[in-house]
Amino acid sequence: MGRYLIPLGIFVVLVGFLAVGLNLNPREVPSPLIDKPAPAFSVSQLHQADKTIARDDLKGKVWLLNVWASWCVSCRQEHPVLVDLAKSGAVPIYGLNYKDQREAGLKWLAEHGNPYVISAFDHDGRVGIDYGVYGVPETFLIDKAGVIRYKHIGPVTPDALKDIILPKVKELNAAS
């Protein structure tokens, strides 16, 4: 009887490790930018090419930076969620139109609705690299002092919004 206990113990431990491993998402790489100042940027706006948008324009408010592109398939999935969020007015959403063509981006927004106060136009993906973007869509929550407080990788779901992002927005808005 005793001779089976050791292999059984090893088996149980192995199953435990595998169970944990299977529930981790290797695509979600923790960002080193959490609780660090959002990288500075100053690029042209998507709708008005002659105007720029910079990180420092947004100081003093809590905002979301949503990285999107017209070529990004999962962005379609999250778009209605963002449109609803924009309508609710809970938090302003700024877009980062990542590695896109201006006409394609504009057309996409005209088709699917525009939840963004302003979209920054990151044609060569430099701002994306500064933010450690590796898979679109990604969403950053940035506080009044311009510090990144949260990063959501992949499409924003209603659950993620309700359970994580909106409570954090509330908390950050309450902080002076």
Partner: protein, 172 residues
Amino acid sequence: MLRPDFSANSLRRFMVALATMFLVASWSVWAGEAAPASDDPALEKRVTALSELLRCLVCQNQTIADSHADLAIDLKNQIREKLRAGESEKQIIDYMVARYGDFVLYKPPVKAATVILWVGPFVLLLGGIGFLMMKVRGRIRQAREGEVLTEAERERAAALLEEDQIEKGTTR
């Protein structure tokens, strides 16, 4: 009756279609590969050496040197630009880690969080050797003790041997 058609002819047609599809797909991938390289071989060598240390976050088991993902190409261009601007290898690696975290390093650094990764296999190896030695010693001891037979065992062995002898005798 309706039955799926598994005749050799349709199978062959299917294989040809599949092969054509793969060929077209791989050709289009290959066609998009040409990255803007500079004509300075020394610089290119440094770019490649550095790219081999960095993980492509899109296709996670490749270095950015091996990868043709858009992001990998962008990062290689960034490395080239920074090297040209006179930045050191270390500065560039720090730049990447600041944005993408330790995960971007193909060879993880030794720190508290990664110590299991580095030491774990050796601990397991030593543990295995220890376990094996314990077992082998036990066996040796057992074998030594077993050399001495009890009286009853000796008799039983003799009886068995005798039986064997008789059997052989009768068959002959």
